[in-house]
Symmetry: C2
Subunit: 387 residues, 2 copies
């Protein structure tokens, strides 16, 4: 039985502020490249890892959110293996003790930030059918597939994270929400925003994994679309590659309200909110009567350590604004439509998808930290290995 060295990304300490590269470290473990008999587990080789802002929440020593924190590496120093950071990834199965998977299968789901992982919670994985016209890494973003809801999720619910306590589910919620930017964009735009042709649409974090698709869906729907992003490079991308009508760099605006008035002299019908905070506050002031706000952003985790209240919520009354949070997992019946709509448009070149791919597991800490200074352009992915 082959034993391999296994590079890992581990968390060094819990944080309060934005993550820094040095909050993480590279570790080296050993792993048997085998799924033990009776474990019902898979031994996989990780190929692509997804960097997602929500992961910051798991780096905090805070148990009141609905996302449990990562385990600090030092807690397990007596074990042979360290415990890496977890996240979504695409991987290849090397060995399987689960009859639903066999060596050579490609899967996506929650895995470790390491070269090889032993995944026991196979219920949360899905098999990817390779398709030459769609890069494997796109399954971390554009085309991430809905969870197989026929599987029994109950068994892996994490104790103490119940809906009753307002902590809304456990792992399942996290994974169902966060692994699926493409379907999140689709559900948020069509089911929550009730879009009509010709309406004025504003998207924040518009070059991000969700935002870029929202903007393109809105354009295909006949809307006027403006996006905000955090660098001139991203603004270029939005205008010249993603087909937004306008885009602006919010970091260059001293008055966000004035900026929105400039881009939306008639006001905003639909705001797709990926960020909350000051941009949401400015958007509220610029919404039109009967405007809709789809709240997608994980404002939660950010606002706990950086609490800035929303000042302009009063606008919802005179403007009759509907503001709605959502998780794509409530709309799984729309999944086949999504897949057909987006895949079809993608293959016809009417939808493009921007990835920011870093090469090598060693680049992961810096790439993850970069999310919070807006370094990435498009969906941030780490390539651990190509196959």
């Amino acid at each position: 039985m082959a034993t391999a060295e296994n590079k890992q990304v581990v968390l060094q300490r819990y944080i309060e502020e934005a993550p820094k590269e040095t909050d993480m470290a590279m570790g080296m473990g050993k792993i048997e490249l085998k799924a033990p008999k009776g474990s019902a587990a898979l031994l996989v080789k990780n190929l692509y890892l997804s960097c997602d802002p929500y992961m910051r929440g798991r780096m905090r020593d805070f148990h009141g959110s609905y996302i449990p924190p990562f385990v600090l590496s030092r807690v397990f120093f007596s074990h042979l293996l360290d415990v890496p950071i977890e996240g979504f990834g695409v991987a290849k199965v090397l060995d399987s003790d689960d009859p639903d998977f066999k060596p050579g299968d490609f899967i996506s789901g929650l895995t470790g930030w390491e070269e090889y992982s032993l995944i026991r919670s196979t219920w949360q994985l899905r098999k990817i059918q390779p398709d030459d016209s769609v890069p494997l890494s796109y399954h971390l973003g554009l085309l991430e597939i809905a969870w197989n809801s026929s599987r029994n999720h109950e068994e892996v619910k994490v104790d103490g994270w119940s809906e009753k306590e307002g902590k809304v589910g456990g792992w399942i919620e996290i994974m169902e929400k966060l692994g699926m930017p493409g379907f999140t964009a689709y559900v948020g735009f069509y089911e929550i925003c009730s879009p009509k042709k010709g309406e004025y649409v504003f998207v924040s974090a518009a070059s991000g994994a969700v935002g870029q698709l929202v903007g393109q869906l809105a354009k295909l729907h006949g809307c006027y679309v403006v996006g905000s992003a955090g660098s001139s490079q991203k603004v270029d991308l939005l205008k010249n590659k993603l087909g937004f009508d306008e885009a602006f760099n919010y970091k260059e605006e001293t008055d966000l309200d004035a900026a929105l008035k400039r881009y939306f002299p008639e006001g905003i019908d639909i705001y797709f909110d990926n960020v909350g905070g000051a941009i949401l506050d400015a958007a509220l002031l610029n919404m039109r009567i009967h405007g809709r706000i789809a709240v997608c952003g994980m404002v939660s985790l950010h606002s706990i350590s950086d609490p800035k209240g929303i000042q302009n919520l009063y606008c919802v009354v005179p403007k009759r604004i509907r503001m709605q949070g959502f998780l794509q997992s409530d709309y799984l019946d729309k999944f086949p439509q999504f897949l057909e709509h987006v895949t079809e448009n993608f293959k016809q070149g009417k939808i493009v998808y921007i990835e920011d791919m870093n090469e090598g597991l060693e680049t992961a800490p810096a790439a993850f930290a970069g999310l919070f200074s807006g370094k990435n352009v498009g969906k941030q992915v780490i390539c651990v290995a190509r196959d």
Copy 2:
């Protein structure tokens, strides 16, 4: 032609904080008890005046809201008549130059805080059909009737208060929203809250004009209903007269989150928000998955001079909360159902309605100021004259 002395309530100064009795003053004018030929106006005798929290907004020297300020009395000191505060009232027509009205008719609509008023904007009035089973003053609250939408509202739109600028209409909006607590309660509960039998409903400012009806409608619908109010007398009223399952005095709670957890161990399905601020923030923490928040309160005006941001808005994402502002005027097609439902239940004694009636125009400044310290119990009304 009879000329009468005309007691008035005038505004002395613009305010920033909560209104005080001394911000207003009693004035004495003279008025001809006649509607001049060609004026298309009515000369009315005011009987009942409505004290509404929104009027505070018109006492501020702030032109950025959608409610223009009152005219200060001193601006017009060279005129024969001072300009009184305006508000909703029930009045008797003494003379009419409008063919739709005749002496002896009872009307409700926007009038002056004075004994007699010459009302030129008769389009905004409605005729009351006297009904012995319903006190005249109830037309300022429970049974206020929808505006006749067949009348041409355009002509009286106030310049500069356009929807385009996000200032959402002018007088019409104000009047359509604010004069109709009964219909507002009905629309907010049935159209915005999507109630289901057995759900957990929380109502703030529950003994107020809107809140008391929302709670009773929710009970009739088979919900579990808890109200918050600002005195033990109001809490008694909610529990013993209005049929709420539970009620609490929010002023006695040091931790609103803990209070809501006590009354809603299972969480809140529906929050009917009449106040915003800290109670909304606590409610957000206690909402259940797929909860709904109907935002009815004029938080706007309060938050401008006392800006406290909402901290817990992030809850809308994991809990998939729908939060919606509304004005009853968008739902006029439901008005016949409302009238039948509420009148029928009222006559059968299944709905009660609590008024706080002060006698005499002189009591108006103190009664109005009292709204902001929660002095009133039920809908605050001033009786100027009985007929």
